[in-house]
């Protein structure tokens, strides 16, 4: 069943199109990869889904419900949460309080304090951050901050998790850790839609992959289909970046 769908999504920035009539579908319970050279419009697509920007044309639907022009906080309550490529934890707050923001405010209902703190504890354990719970987020290194981004998003108890380059820039050990966490998240029934530059990771994890280039969708399919697609190869080689 399709859980998240975009139709004809178009976004202009100062007259230049960052996204041009993009259609996509994300199957419930799957891991869907979103790849493309830098500046292809991947993050912009996430910003449209999470309600930070409104598209100039097109719609996004969640479980068939039109969410195109809903406020970000409403979209979060419906069950779509995300991480930021530029890593934006609440730097002045402790790791625990970062996750509590997601738990207290990101969910549809309200949890009592004790339950919320238990929940935060188990999420931090899941993301291997328990030992850092009382640290301020600005005391964490990059790998830990990325895991905190994901932990905070998991705090909202999402149905769909949008991951914007949570692996890029990590060392091999950290990469393995977070890949395992992504799979485990999917196994809990959360649908994952992930942008990633690290091909090994995204091809290894994804059921399906969508390829954007210059704001347009140029290919879509299983990892095998996409990697052998001549258009995709050309886009990447032309970009001198693989």
């Amino acid at each position: 069943m399709v859980i998240l769908e975009g139709k004809g999504l178009t976004k202009y920035f100062r007259g230049l199109s960052a996204l041009q009539s993009v259609d996509f579908k994300v199957e419930e319970g799957s891991i869907t990869g979103l790849i493309g050279p830098n500046g292809a419009g991947k993050t912009t697509l996430f910003n449209l889904i999470s309600g930070l920007f409104s598209p100039n044309h097109g719609t996004t639907t969640f479980h068939g419900m039109d969410i195109t022009h809903l406020r970000p906080d409403r979209i979060c309550h419906l069950g779509i949460s995300r991480t930021y490529q530029l890593i934006r934890p609440f730097l002045g707050l402790s790791v625990l309080r970062n996750v509590l923001v997601g738990i207290y405010y990101g969910r549809d209902g309200t949890l009592p304090k004790k339950k919320a703190e238990e929940e935060a504890g188990s999420i931090l354990e899941f993301m291997e951050l328990s030992s850092k719970a009382t640290y301020r987020a600005d005391q964490l290194n990059t790998g830990e901050r990325k895991r905190l981004e994901m932990a905070r998003a998991l705090g909202t108890n999402p149905k769909v998790l949008l991951l914007d380059e949570v692996i890029a820039g990590l060392n091999p050990a950290e990469t393995t850790t977070i890949m395992k966490r992504i799979e485990a998240t999917r196994d809990k029934g959360v649908t994952v839609f992930m942008i990633e530059h690290v091909m090994k990771a995204v091809m290894g994890l994804s059921d399906r992959v969508i390829v954007l280039h210059h704001g347009e969708k140029i290919a879509e399919g299983t990892p095998q289909e996409v990697t052998t697609d001549p258009g995709v190869i050309k886009a990447y080689l032309g970009d001198k970046r693989i």
Partner: protein
């Protein structure tokens, strides 16, 4: 009970007994100190926790003062007039939050600063209501000791409630907004609503303080309540002590009120300089305020008086 609780308890008893043993000027000085704490601490809800520098916080103080004076003279009694002072202040906060909170950073600060001037002008010109430049003399006697207790009570209430609020869910939303408003919104926080609520709570304390202060000094005019002297209190004290930490504004209020008092007796009219000097000192030597100085941070955190 922790050590700190005992200290607070003994301190309270001391402050309650004090007016019976000390000279009147000491009582008056402490009243002023408590008032400064109320204003600086309530300012800090928005300035320190929400992260919006509200330069117009004293407008609420002035609104409370005038509402109280006008109603008291209309024979509504102390209680109703105080209540109305809070209501008008809070209502006004709600009203301005929608246009003002669309502004960010310096634009927000500048707009709020303009508010004070606006109200000063209104107070000057709505003569039939405010008495214009000659101000309002309220129908009450000068009662220092009682005013002292009211101010002390409000001070304890303000600090206590802010302590609880900043540790609650509401406080979590405020600090999240301060750290990154856009991210806060994508994590389910209705940012506009939370900013509005923060300003309303912040305004309630300041406007009630305005009412009590009017009751204490009996006479108000536009300069007294909308002047620079009160306008500089919240920012300079919160920033000197340490914004966004419960004891910060208290420490700042303590230092500035003392320096001001000394200057006032030695070189009259120079006391305003204390505010300016405080702001410059903070900017140059201690961006986090006194309580975040390297050598003070650790001991304060150990005592549980500082969180971050």
């Amino acid at each position: 009970m922790k050590k700190i609780h005992i200290v607070i308890f003994i301190g309270l008893i001391l402050f309650i007994l004090l007016p019976h043993f000390t000279p009147r000027y000491m009582t008056a000085f402490l009243l002023l100190l408590f008032m400064h704490i109320v204003i600086a601490e309530s300012y800090d809800i928005v300035g320190g926790y929400l992260g919006y520098i509200n330069m117009g916080h004293s407008a609420f103080f002035g609104i409370g003062a005038y509402t109280f004076a006008i109603l008291l003279n209309g024979n509504f009694g102390f209680f109703l007039s105080s209540l109305a002072a809070i209501l008008v202040g809070v209502l006004f906060a709600a009203l301005i939050s929608f246009p003002f909170f669309r502004l960010r950073g310096a634009y927000f600060s500048l707009a709020t600063f303009g508010l004070i001037r606006l109200f000063e002008l209104l107070a000057f010109n709505l003569r039939s209501l405010t008495g214009g430049s000659s101000g309002i003399m309220i129908k009450a006697e000068y009662r220092l000791t009682l005013a002292y207790y009211f101010t002390l009570g409000l001070c304890v209430l303000t600090v206590g409630l802010i302590f609880l609020l900043t540790r609650s869910r509401l406080g979590l939303a405020w600090t999240a907004i301060r750290e990154d408003e856009e991210v806060a919104q994508t994590f389910g926080i209705n940012t506009l609503k939370h900013k509005c609520v923060a300003l309303m709570i912040s305004a309630s304390f300041a406007s009630l303080m305005g009412a009590f202060y009017t009751w204490y000094i009996i006479f108000i005019n536009p300069k007294v309540v909308f002047g620079l002297e009160i306008a500089l209190v919240p920012i300079s004290m919160a920033m000197l002590g340490g914004s966004g930490a419960l004891i910060g504004p208290i420490v700042g209020a303590f230092f500035i009120t003392i320096v001001e008092e000394i200057l006032w007796t030695k070189v009259p009219y120079f006391h305003l300089a204390a505010y300016g000097i405080a702001i410059v000192l903070v900017g140059l030597f201690m961006p986090g305020g006194i309580v975040r100085l390297k050598w003070l941070r650790k001991p304060l955190m150990r005592l549980g008086l500082l969180e971050d």
